[in-house]
Amino acid sequence: MTGNPPAEANPRLDDSRGGDDRVSCRRGDLAKWSAEGGPLPARLSRHIERCPACRAQVSRVNRVQASLILLQGQALPPNLHARANGRALRLLRRAERASAAARDLLHCRPDLPYWQRIQFQITRMSCGVAAALLLLVIRVGVVHAAEETRDLGETLAAMYADRHINPDGHGAGGDSRLA
């Protein structure tokens, strides 16, 4: 039993079959027309008059072809291309900037030797140390200047007291610094 089954045994090959319209005949012209579209071939046209399954299939394929043609008729908005390319270019530039930053990050190797880590720590701390030294110098300078100012004020006060308030050098609390 290697030959093709008779048409009666396989309802899909029966040209004039009615009944279930979900299973169409295996017709070459129907398959070809389904793929290529265009006007219905005359033989197929005659066939679908008496085959509801193929008629339904032709109707469905027709709907698909019509919808595809409708989709193909959707014209591109005039400035869509410009906007899409503009966004793409901005994205590329941003990606380039981001990848440069990523390259920098990759240069920071985690498996440095001990002496290099110390060197790295020293380099990192040197700014802080310099800033602290600077602050210390400023503070010492300010304190020293304040103390000098205070001493000078005291000296001037004592001179004033010696010359104008207690020129003889007598009396309580008299301070004779100039002497």
């Binding site: 793929a35 709907r63 698909v64 919808s67 193909q72 959707q74 591109l76 390319n85 270019l89 590329l92």
Partner: protein, 193 residues
């Protein structure tokens, strides 16, 4: 290239300006892709999505993935890769839309119950037919879907489709024939179901 020649003059000049754009040397291959395939990809995306915002998002997603992959990562067929990722982004958007639509059935029902003038109904029918077809395309198996999108929406020749997908032109024809039959089944199911 015939599609590029069919574009208006200002778009062609803009397309040409992509070559001289200031981007890094390592990204020049992406510019070449955008210049060569950008118009066709955008056309296919527009027909698949029908919304400017969605098209821009899908296009940018595709460019983003190209950038992330790099020239070595996309393989020997960068144009095919570009088409595929753009189409995948579009399919994802169509499916997301469908999922969102499932959450507002009541709104659709109330709109359907309202009386509309005949002109408005025709526009709605056309829009619904387009949406139905887009959804049906997104439900196709991947190999059939790619052929339909490139051939019918991107309006490429079978040879170009075959080159993009890495198959023969005969296989592309066969896939397209199977796709139409499957689409007919899907559309038929939706109409009767």
């Amino acid at each position: 290239m015939a599609r590029v020649a069919a574009l208006p003059l200002e778009l062609r000049s803009l397309l040409a300006s992509l070559t001289s754009a200031e981007v890094a040397e390592s990204q020049q291959w992406i510019l070449r892709l955008l210049r060569g395939q950008g118009a066709a990809v955008l056309t296919a995306l527009w027909r698949m999505l029908g919304s400017e915002a969605d098209v821009l998002d899908a296009y940018q997603t595709a460019v983003c993935r190209l950038t992330a992959r790099g020239q070595q990562g996309v393989g020997a067929n960068p144009a095919g890769y570009f088409y595929r990722i753009a189409v995948n982004a579009a399919i994802e958007t169509v499916r997301t839309r469908q999922r969102q639509k499932a959450h507002w059935p009541r709104l659709v029902e109330s709109r359907a119950s309202l009386p509309s003038p005949p002109g408005v109904m025709a526009v709605c029918d056309e829009r619904e037919a387009l949406e139905r077809m887009r959804l049906a395309i997104s439900e196709l198996p991947r190999h059939l879907r790619e052929v339909v999108i490139l051939r019918d929406l991107g309006q490429m020749q079978y040879a170009e489709v075959a080159r993009c997908l890495g198959i023969t032109a005969g296989t592309a024809r066969l896939y397209r024939r199977q796709a139409v039959i499957r689409l007919a089944e899907l559309i038929g199911e939706e109409v009767t179901g």
